[in-house]
Amino acid sequence: MSEKIVSMKTYGIIFITLVVLTIVTYRVALIDLGVFNAVVALTIAAIKATLVALFFMHVRWSPRLTRLVIAGSLFWLLILLGLTLADYIARGPGWTHGLRYPGNP
């Protein structure tokens, strides 16, 4: 019957962490790290999203069935991204010739 009530202290810590990570992601983006700029930016975004989901959205205290639905949706997202990229990258060098945009014959 009783429902897990997350303390305001926990919410406060998560909030401050999210603000700090936002500042970090902006600062790091100004430094030229080559391809690692994207890696760092997406890693920080993934950490922030996980914190929001686990604490603000109470996933940490959710039943297994709910977690399964979330894991399932992320798995399907991975299929969408993974297979699409596998197709384009497997076309080899010059794969961008097949892409269409305004003005591309």
Partner: protein
């Protein structure tokens, strides 16, 4: 609507007849919301996939085009949304504790922050129109050769599609929040029954998560090369 309504104390407890107890009802509600959010993840996923393919193909042009966005406004908007997620979480906390007054106060704060976000977004969109950065016949970036301009249009098409869909979700979220405030005003929630607040919160946080990814992908991707 087959609902049995029983009065417990001064609050109304609403338990639909197909559920054994409030806990089962609450968990079923949250599960249903997550199934809906799954469809939303894949809805936005299509745009994220399109973005990824085109960014891999035209990385340099995308980085250049990205630097035309106002990163300060994007940064402030990220903080505004994080604050709104915090006030929403606080609203849910007060719903669970049965503090009706603070539930209303924090939901109002959440709506206000949502409106601030949309206001800043509107300023950004207006700037894009002024600077000829809206895809179409008036699109132009000075000093860029015509083929690259076409590719830069792709970036701005994705920018408007992704932030536009996100802004639409913010508008829906704000409308939903106003309904929740009215329900709270009429004393419809109690520590035993506040599922609508909880589910509204899930939606609001989801929209925040989308922006957490949109900000680095759209605003930050070319910043390290901006000075070159």
């Amino acid at each position: 609507m087959a609902e049995t309504t029983t009065v417990t104390g001064e609050h109304l407890e609403v338990l639909a007849h197909q559920f054994d107890d409030p806990k089962q009802q609450r968990q079923a509600g949250a599960l249903g919301m997550w199934v809906f959010l799954s469809t939303e993840i894949l809805f936005f996923g299509g745009l994220f996939t399109a973005y990824t393919v085109y960014r891999l193909a035209y990385h340099d042009v995308f980085a250049f085009a990205s630097n035309e966005l106002d990163v300060r406004l994007g940064f402030v908007n990220t903080l505004v949304l994080i604050c709104s997620s915090f006030t929403m979480a606080t609203a849910v906390y007060n719903a669970q504790k049965g503090n009706r007054k603070w539930l209303i106060v924090f939901m109002c704060a959440t709506v206000m922050l949502g409106l601030v976000f949309l206001g800043i977004k509107a300023v950004e969109y207006a700037q894009k129109f002024e600077h000829h950065l809206v895809p179409g016949s008036h699109f132009s970036i000075e000093g860029m050769d015509p083929d690259k301009v076409q590719k830069a249009q792709l970036f701005f098409s994705l920018y408007f599609a992704m932030t536009g869909l996100h802004a639409l979700h913010m508008i829906v979220g704000a409308g939903m929040m106003i309904v929740l405030i009215l329900m709270a005003w009429r004393d419809r929630f109690s520590p035993e029954y506040h599922t609508p607040v909880e589910l509204g919160g899930l939606y609001w946080h989801f929209v925040d998560i989308i922006w957490i990814f949109l900000f680095p992908l759209l605003y930050l991707l070319g910043r390290s090369t901006a000075g070159h």
